[in-house]
């Protein structure tokens, strides 16, 4: 639901880099988004197509790479990746306990790179 403001930001940032790099056309943009985010890929592209009309980013394809959710166990220090759907029932991949876990990554939100001419 909050894809629109996020997409506006993406466009601002890539257009800034397009200016800095004297780019005439952006072909693709690669995003790194943590697995905990609820962004819908299809909607981001949809909003992006709309917002980027008449800019150097018009027609650019968004490539959204999901980064894994990683938890850490406070008892044995094990770090392990987990699916979002399993997170509320999580158990440590090392010691099997589930009461001292914390999320150490999965909330990322950044633009990695873009292809342009």
């Amino acid at each position: 639901m909050h894809e629109l403001p996020v997409t506006e930001k993406i466009l601002d940032i890539v257009l800034k880099h397009a200016r800095l790099n004297h780019v005439s056309e952006i072909r693709s943009i690669t995003l790194h988004v943590g697995g905990l985010s609820d962004l819908e890929d299809e909607w981001i592209q949809h909003y992006f197509d709309y917002l980027s009309k008449d800019t150097q980013a018009s027609g650019a394809r968004l490539i959204i790479e999901r980064l894994p959710i990683v938890m850490k166990c406070g008892l044995c220090d094990e770090r392990f990746a987990i699916e979002k759907s399993e997170i509320g029932e999580a158990r440590c991949a090392g010691c099997g306990k589930g009461d001292r876990l914390s999320i150490i990554s999965g909330k990322e939100y950044y633009i990695k790179e873009m292809e342009a001419v």
């Binding site: 639901m1 909050h2 403001p5 996020v6 930001k9 993406i10 940032i13 890539v14 880099h17 790099n21 780019v23 005439s24 072909r27 943009i29 995003l31 905990l36 985010s37 609820d38 406070g74 979002k84 759907s85 997170i87 509320g88 029932e89 999580a90 589930g98 009461d99 001292r100 876990l101 914390s102 999320i103 909330k107 939100y109 950044y110 633009i111 990695k112 790179e113 873009m114 292809e115 342009a116 001419v117």
Partner: protein, 226 residues
């Protein structure tokens, strides 16, 4: 034909918002205003919690409320009836508040005059979780009728809050809501979270929450003065 170049961007999409939030938090430390970002689904009891909390703490603290709603002023009017100053932020279709919107609301209410300002975020467990508002504390409400499985569906929200209020405990007898199960699920995402089961309707459990808040504000001030 021009060659396709790969340009490294490496920029955080939310960095503008994060910078505004960090700035705002600094000004709140300076004015010693404890700002609470209150989040929940529509109907979980955000306004009810405020209506119960404000009179219980009014002898101790000066308090204000910033209400956010997509397009109505119903909640702000309810708060105003209690005599507490409140302003309404219309988000104009936005499903969440970001730091610059919160800053606007805080400026409008004159936050520096208050010990505590409650921000009632838009009713939604998804979008508000993704944006740092610049508040000092993130507090969420889950109500019993919503079910004990919500941490499985909205892990980000449950992982970011320092307090979870479980409202409508008086309705637990009518449902198969299992508070132990909920607590276990929430603590897997957020081991340090404080959980306060209460009922805004009967008043049961409200003292633990307001007692915690009193302590949290004292800690906040102590942290500033040391």
């Amino acid at each position: 034909m021009e060659k396709v170049r790969l340009i490294e961007v490496k920029e955080n999409i939310l960095s503008d918002n994060d910078a505004v939030a960090a700035d705002l938090r600094r000004t709140l430390f300076a004015s010693e205003t404890y700002v609470i970002n209150l989040m929940a689904s529509p109907g979980a009891g955000k306004t009810s919690l405020l209506l119960q909390t404000l009179p219980r703490l009014s002898d101790l603290f000066s308090m204000g409320v910033v209400e956010a709603d997509i397009d109505s002023a119903v909640d702000a009017e309810k708060i105003m009836k209690t005599g507490v100053k409140s302003v309404q932020l219309r988000t104009g279709g936005f499903c969440h508040l970001d730091a610059s919107m919160v800053k606007k609301g805080l400026d409008a209410i004159g936050y520096e005059k208050f010990d505590i300002v409650f921000i009632e975020n838009v009713g939604n467990l998804v979008c508000p979780a993704e944006f740092d508002t610049g508040a000092i504390a993130d507090v969420m409400i889950l109500s019993v009728p919503e079910g004990d499985d919500k941490p499985l569906k909205y892990p980000l929200m449950f992982s970011k809050c320092s307090v979870l209020i479980v409202n409508k405990t008086d309705m637990a007898v009518l449902s198969d809501f299992d508070i132990k199960k909920l607590e276990k699920r929430v603590r897997r995402l957020n081991p340090g979270i404080k959980i306060f089961p209460l009922s805004c309707r009967t008043g049961e459990g409200l003292g633990s929450w307001t007692g915690w808040l009193e302590g949290a504000v004292a800690e906040f001030r102590k942290g500033i003065s040391t």
